[in-house]
C-alpha cells in the first residue's frame, strides 16, 4: 500500500452520475446523510462498506491505491457512492468546529470587490481591470446624451445609462464599443507620450547627477589636499611641542629695553640644531630695509647671519633655521635692521637682542 496521499478531491466525491439525487427528495428536508434522512445507512449496511476505506477517502488522506479502490467501488455500486456523500457531509461539519475568526472587513471587502471585478471581466471575455481604473473609466463609458437616447428609444426617458457590469442593449453596446475604442487609442497615445516624457526626464536627471558627481569629486580632492596640509601642520606642531618640552631645549628671550615694544623668544633645540624664533610687536622695517638675525658666538670671529625676515602686519613673525652650534658657543642672539637682502655683517641698529648664556 502506497504512503502517498492526494489532496482531498472537491469534485470527485460521487463519481457516478446515476447516483440518486438525495437533495431532490422534497419529502424530507433534513440534511442528506444525517441519521433519519434518506442518506443514512444502518449498521448492517455499513458492514458492506467495510472493505473500503471510505473515511480515509472522504477525509482525503487515504493512499492512492485505497482511493482508486473506493472510486472503482463507487462507480460500480450506487450505494457506495451514496454512502460517500453521506460521510462527506459529516466531514463538512468539522469546518464548523473551528473557533470563529473574524476576517478583516476592509480586506474582505477588497476580496469581494476583486472577485466581482474578475468575474465581470471573465464574463465579458476581457482583461480584468483594477477597481481604480474602472472608476476612472466609468464617466467615459456613460452615454453621451441620455435624453437624446431616450427619445430614440421611444421617449421613455427613464434610462439611467449603461454602467460597468450592467446588461446593455445593442445600441448602447455599440456606443460603448465606439467610445471604448476611441478611449483605448487615446490611452495608448497618452501612454506613449508619458513614456517619452519619463525618458527625457530620466536623461535630464542623469545629466544633472553627472554634474553633481563631478562637483563633489573636485570638492573631495580639494578637501583631501587641505586635510593633508592640516595634518602636516599638526605633525610639525606636535614635533615642536615635543622639542620645546624636551631636555635639549634652550630658551633665549630677546628684548628691547629701550621701549616696551618688540620682543622675541628663541627656542634652540641643540641636539637637532634647530632654531625657532617667535617675535611680537615688531615694527615694519623701513623702506629698502629688512630685519636680520645674528648669532654671536665664541667660535666665530664675527656674528653669524641666521637669516632675514619681514614681520607680519600685526608685528609677529615665526622664523625657523637649522644651524649646528656647540652647546656653549652661543653668546648672544640679536636682530638688526639691515638693507634688503641682508648683509654679511651687521651694520644697522639692533632691534632686539638676548644673551645666549
Amino acid at each position: 500500500m502506497s504512503d502517498e496521499r492526494e489532496t482531498p478531491r472537491d469534485d470527485a466525491i460521487v463519481p457516478s452520475p446515476e447516483t440518486p439525487d438525495l437533495s431532490k427528495d422534497k419529502s424530507n428536508d433534513m440534511t442528506p446523510g444525517m441519521p433519519g434522512t434518506p442518506g443514512h445507512s444502518s449498521d448492517a449496511e455499513g458492514d458492506s462498506f467495510a472493505p473500503y476505506d471510505l473515511d480515509g477517502y472522504v477525509l482525503g488522506v487515504s493512499s492512492d491505491d485505497d482511493a482508486a479502490q473506493v472510486r472503482a467501488a463507487a462507480d460500480a455500486d450506487p450505494r457506495i457512492a451514496e454512502e460517500i456523500r453521506v460521510r462527506q457531509d459529516i466531514v463538512a461539519q468539522f469546518a464548523f468546529a473551528v473557533p470563529p475568526v473574524q476576517i478583516n472587513r476592509g480586506r474582505s471587502a477588497g476580496i469581494r470587490s476583486r472577485l466581482v471585478s474578475k468575474a465581470a471581466s471573465a464574463r465579458e471575455g476581457r482583461v480584468p481591470v483594477s477597481r481604480k481604473t474602472a472608476e476612472l473609466l466609468r464617466p467615459l463609458l456613460r452615454p453621451r446624451d441620455t435624453s437624446r437616447d431616450a427619445g430614440r428609444d421611444g421617449g421613455s426617458g427613464a434610462s439611467s445609462g449603461p454602467s460597468l457590469g450592467a446588461p446593455l442593449d445593442t445600441t448602447a453596446a455599440a456606443q460603448l464599443n465606439s467610445v471604448r475604442r476611441r478611449y483605448q487609442v487615446a490611452l495608448a497615445a497618452f501612454a506613449v507620450a508619458m513614456v517619452m516624457v519619463m525618458g527625457l526626464q530620466q536623461m535630464r536627471v542623469a545629466h544633472a547627477a553627472d554634474g553633481v558627481r563631478e562637483t563633489l569629486d573636485a570638492r573631495d580632492q580639494a578637501l583631501s589636499k587641505r586635510l593633508d596640509s592640516l595634518l602636516a601642520v599638526s605633525a610639525h606642531k606636535d614635533s615642536l611641542l615635543a622639542s620645546f618640552t624636551g631636555p635639549d631645549m634652550k630658551v633665549i628671550d630677546l628684548v628691547n629695553y629701550s621701549s616696551q615694544g618688540p620682543l622675541a623668544r628663541m627656542f634652540w633645540e641643540q641636539k637637532a640644531a634647530e632654531w625657532t624664533m617667535y617675535a611680537y610687536h615688531l615694527r615694519q622695517p623701513k623702506p629698502g630695509k629688512t630685519f636680520q638675525v645674528w648669532l654671536v658666538t665664541t667660535t666665530a670671529p664675527a656674528p653669524i647671519s641666521a637669516g632675514t625676515f619681514t614681520p607680519n602686519p600685526d608685528g609677529s613673525f615665526v622664523m625657523h633655521a637649522k644651524y649646528p652650534l656647540d652647546r656653549d658657543a652661543l653668546v648672544k642672539v640679536a636682530v638688526s635692521e639691515e638693507p634688503a637682502g641682508g648683509v654679511p655683517a651687521p651694520t644697522g641698529p639692533i632691534i632686539i637682542a638676548g644673551a645666549g648664556r
Binding site: 489532496t7 455499513g46 468539522f94 468546529a97 473557533p99 476576517i103 472577485l115
Partner: protein, 204 residues
C-alpha cells in the same frame, strides 16, 4: 442547509433586485455569469471558509488569499457543479480545505518541517474551554461537543487528518500506531460523529 437559518449570522442579500436566493439559486445565477450572485454567496460563506482556512494555515494573510482562490474557483466551476454531489456549502468548504492543505504542505516542504512538528501543531480540541466553545453559535457547540465526546485517540486521528492534512500513513507514524489501527480509529470516530451530529439534521 442555509447558514442564515442556522446559528451563523450570514446575510441573505438581494441579488439584482430579486428576492434573496438560497445557495442553489445563487449557484444557478453564478453558472449563468452573474457576478453579483457570486458576491452574495461570498457574503454568506466567506466567514466560515476563512475560519477554517486560518485553522489549517495559522496565517491570516495566506488565509485571505485562499478565500479568494476558493470563491474564484466556485465561479469558474459553477457550471459543472452537480447538486447531487452534496450541499453547496460542503462543496465550497471542501475546495477551501483542499487549497489550504495544498499551501500548508508546500510550506512544510519548504521549511522542512518534521512530522512531529506538523502533528503537534494540530491541537484544536486539546483543552476544553466551555466559554470559547460556546462562541460561534449552536451548530459549533454541537460539533465541538461531538468531537470532545470521542475517545481521544479517535478524535486525534480525525483531527490530524482533517485539519493537519496528514495522510493515514503519516498519522500512523506520528502516533506510532499500526496503519490498520489508525484506519479503525477513524472509522469508529466517524460512526460516533454520525450519531452525535444527527441533531444537525433536525435543527438546520
Amino acid at each position: 442547509m442555509n447558514p442564515s437559518s442556522g446559528d451563523h449570522t450570514y446575510q441573505s442579500r438581494t441579488v439584482n433586485g430579486s428576492p434573496s436566493l438560497d445557495d442553489a439559486g445563487l449557484m444557478r445565477r453564478i453558472a449563468d455569469g452573474d457576478e453579483h450572485a457570486l458576491a452574495a454567496l461570498y457574503d454568506r460563506w466567506a466567514q466560515p471558509v476563512y475560519a477554517l482556512v486560518v485553522q489549517v494555515l495559522r496565517d491570516r494573510d495566506e488565509a485571505e488569499d485562499v478565500v479568494e482562490e476558493t470563491f474564484w474557483q466556485v465561479w469558474q466551476r459553477a457550471s459543472s457543479y452537480d447538486a447531487t454531489r452534496g450541499a453547496i456549502h460542503t462543496w465550497i468548504l471542501t475546495i477551501a480545505r483542499s487549497r489550504a492543505l495544498d499551501r500548508l504542505r508546500a510550506k512544510q516542504r519548504r521549511k522542512g518541517e518534521s512530522l512531529t512538528a506538523r502533528g503537534d501543531a494540530v491541537q484544536l480540541f486539546a483543552e476544553s474551554d466551555p466559554e470559547r466553545d460556546a462562541e460561534g453559535g449552536e451548530r459549533r457547540t454541537i460539533v465541538v461537543n461531538a468531537m470532545r465526546a470521542l475517545p481521544e485517540e479517535q478524535r486525534r486521528a480525525l483531527e490530524l487528518a482533517y485539519f493537519g492534512g496528514l495522510s493515514q500513513s503519516e498519522i500512523a507514524d506520528y502516533l506510532r500506531q499500526p496503519l490498520g489501527t489508525v484506519k479503525t480509529r477513524m472509522r469508529l470516530g466517524m460512526q460516533k460523529l454520525r450519531e452525535r451530529l444527527a441533531i444537525l439534521g433536525e435543527t438546520v
